[in-house]
C-alpha cells in the first residue's frame, strides 16, 4: 500500500495551505524580525509541499516538480542568510529587532 493510495492529494494541499496561512499570519503579526523570517520560511516550505505533492500525484515522470522544490530550498537558504545579516545590521545600529521601530520610510 503506497502513500498515493492511502493519502489523497487534497489532504496534502490542505496541509500546505494551512502551513502557508500560519506562515503568512506569523509574518504579518510577529513583532520580532526573526519571527517574520520564520513566517516567510514556513510559507516557502508550504509551497515546497505543494510542488512535491503535485509532482508525486499528477506527473511522476517529470522531474520539474522536484527541481523546483530543490531551487526553493536553495533560495530559502540564501534568503535566510541575507535576512539574518540584515537583522544583525539593524540590531547593531538600533539595539533592537522590533519591526515597528524600523519605520524610517514613514510618510
Amino acid at each position: 500500500m503506497t502513500m498515493v493510495d492511502s493519502v489523497p492529494l487534497e489532504w496534502l494541499l490542505l496541509l500546505a495551505a494551512a502551513l502557508f496561512c500560519i506562515g503568512l499570519f506569523g509574518a504579518l503579526v510577529r513583532r520580532s524580525l526573526i519571527g517574520i523570517l520564520l513566517g516567510v520560511e514556513l510559507m516557502l516550505n508550504a509551497v515546497n509541499i505543494n510542488m512535491v505533492a503535485f509532482w508525486r500525484y499528477l506527473e511522476p515522470n517529470l522531474v520539474a516538480g522536484q527541481v523546483f522544490a530543490l531551487f526553493i530550498i536553495t533560495i530559502a537558504a540564501a534568503e535566510a542568510a541575507v535576512g539574518l545579516a540584515m537583522v544583525i545590521a539593524i540590531y547593531r545600529s538600533r539595539r533592537t529587532i522590533d519591526a515597528d521601530d524600523a519605520a524610517l520610510l514613514q510618510g
Binding site: 509574518a27 504579518l28 517574520i36 519591526a99 524600523a102 519605520a103 520610510l105 514613514q106 510618510g107
Partner: protein
Amino acid sequence: MGFFLDIAWLIPLLPLLACVALTLLPLRGAMAGRLAVSAIAIAAVLALGVIVALAAGDGTAFTRVVRWAPAGAADLLLGYRIDGLAAVMLVMVTLVATAIHVFAIGYMAHDARRVRFFAYTTLFTAAMLAMVMAGNLLLLFIAWEVMGLCSYLLIGFWYDRTYADPNRITPRAAAIKAFMTTRVGDVLLLIGLVYLWLEAGTLEIGAAAGQIFAPQLLERLATSGTAVGMSAATAIALLIFAGTIGKSAQFPLHVWLPDAMEGPTPVSALIHAATMVAAGVFLVARTFPIFAVSDALPVVAAIGAITALGAALVACVQFDIKRILAYSTVSQLGFMVAALGVGGWGAALFHLLTHACFKALLFLGAGSVIHAMEAVVGHDGPAQDIRSMGGLRNAMPRTFAAYLVGALALAGVAPLAGFWSKDEILAEAFAHGNLLIGVMLLAASFLTAFYMTRQVWLVFFGRFRGGASLPHESPATMTVPLIVLAVASVLVGAINLPWWHTLSDFVAAEATSFNLLLAFIATLLALAGIGGGWWLYRSAFADAATTDPLQQAQPRLFALLQQAFAIDALYGWVIGRLFDVVSDLRDRLDRLVIGRGVAGTGSLAGLLGRLTFLFDDAVLNGGGDLVARSTSDAGEELRRSVTGRVQDYLALAIAGLVVLGVVVVYGLRP
C-alpha cells in the same frame, strides 16, 4: 615705379593707424606729435613716389578695386583710383599736413589734450587722403563725412571755453553751427549721389562702360528730363554742387567757416583753409564731365563770383586776425568755384594748390603771432585783435618774413604763386565766362590786396599797441614750417606757368591761354590795393581804441560789412520764425491729435486691463490655486498609507495578490 602705385593704399592707412595708436596707446604728449608727423611724412614720401610713378606711366589712371558688397545688378566696388588729379592732391595734402603737424607740435605744446588733438588731425588727414584717392563716389562720400566729423570735433576742441562777451560765439556753438550748416549741403549731395545711382546704376569714377563718365551715359543724362524741367544731368550736378557749397563755404552756406576759427589755429590752417574746404572744389573737378554736359555751370560761376566779392568786402573790416583770413579763404574758394563755373577746372585746381600753400602759411603765421600775443596779453585778452598788435616785425622777424611772402602771394604779386593761379582764373573768366563775372573777380582781387595790406600793416608795422613788453619769436618747430611753406608759396606757381602747362598736361585739363593785358590790369589792381591799404592805414592806429578809418568814412556800411551782410542775423531770424511756426504746429498736433490719441489708448488699455484682471483672478489664479490645494490635500491623505512598517507593505502586497488571483481565476475565465 609701379611699386608706389601698388602700395598707394598705405597713404591714407598710415595716418589712420596713427590715429588708432594715438587713441588706444597710453602715449605722452611729445610722443603723440612725433608719431603723427612721422606717419604723415611717410605718407608724403609715398605720395611723391606715386606722382613720379604716374608721370613715368602712359598717363592712364591706375585703379585697384576689391569687391565690397553686391548691390543690385552690379557689385559695389571698394578701391582707389589714381589719376593726375588725385596724385597732385595727394602730394599737396600730405606735404601741407606734414608742415602743419610739425607746427602743431610747438603750438599745442602746453595743451593738456594734445594727444586727442593729434588723434583727430590724423584721422582727418586719413579721411582727406581717402577721399582724394576714392575710386567711387560712395567711398568719396564716406570720407567726406568723416572729414565733416573731424571738423566738428576740432572746431569744438576747446569745448569748455566760455567768453565774457555773450555775443561772441563759443567753440561749442561754432562746432554745432559748422556741422549743421554743412549738413544741409551734405544731405543734398547724398540725394544727388542716390539720383546718379538710380540713373547710372554705378558710382565708379571713370569713362569706361559701366562707369559714371561713360559717353553714352552722359548723353542720356543730358537729354533725359526731370519733373522740374531741367535735365537729369543738371539736377545731379546742382545737387553735387550743393555739397560743394556746404563744404567749401560758398554763399549761402558760408556762415560756418568764419566761426570755425574758434578751433586751434593749426586746425584752421589744415582743415579750414588748406585742405578740407578745398574738398568741395575737388569734388566738382572730379565729377566735371557731368557738369560739362549740364546747364549747372552758370549757377556755379555766379555763386563763386558772389562769394569771392562778398567775402572779400567783409574781410576788409574785420579786426580778428583769423577772421580776416577766414573770409579771405571763403573769397579765394569763391575764385576757385567761379573758375569751375566757367569751365576752367584746371585753373581751379591750380589755384587750389597754390592757395593751400600760402593760406596754410598765413594761418600758421597768424598762429605764431597769436601764440606770441597770448604770452603777453593772456588767453582771455585781445590776442587775436589786430588793433592790439603792431610793430611785430622787429619782435618776430622770421614769422614776419614768411607772413609777408604769404600775403604778397595771396594779393597776387608777380612772380609769387598766387599771381599765376589767379591770373589763370581771370583769363578763364574773361575768355569763357561772362564779363560781369570777370569784373567781379577783378574787384575781389583788388580787395584781396587791400585787406591783406591792412592786416600786415596793422600787425607787423607801426608801434606795438598791446602792452608795455613786446612778444617774442615762436620756437623753431613753429617757424621752420613757416619758412618751408613760404618757399613753397614762391615756387609752387612754377608748376603751371603760362609757357609750360605742366599741371594742366598732367591732369589732362585744357590749358589756359595767357592774357597779357589782363595780367597787367590784375597786377595794377593788386598794387593799387596794396598802395591804398598802405595810404589808409600807414598811421591810422595810434592805440588799440582808435576807430578804423573806413568806419569814420562810412559808419553804416562798415557796420553792415562787420556783420557780414547780416546773413547770420537773417538766418537766425528766418530759422527762428520757422521754428516758432513748426513748434506751434507740433504743439497743436501733440495736444489735439497725439495727446487725445494717447489718452484714449490709455483708457482703453485700462478697461482691457480690468477685464483681464477679472478673468485672471477668477480663472487662472483661482484655478491654479485649486490645483495646488487639491494636490496638497491628496498628498496629505495619501501619506497616511505610507507607514514605513514592512509588515503593512507585506499585507498590502498579499491583499493585492489575492485581488489579482480572484481576477485571474474568476474574472478572466469565460
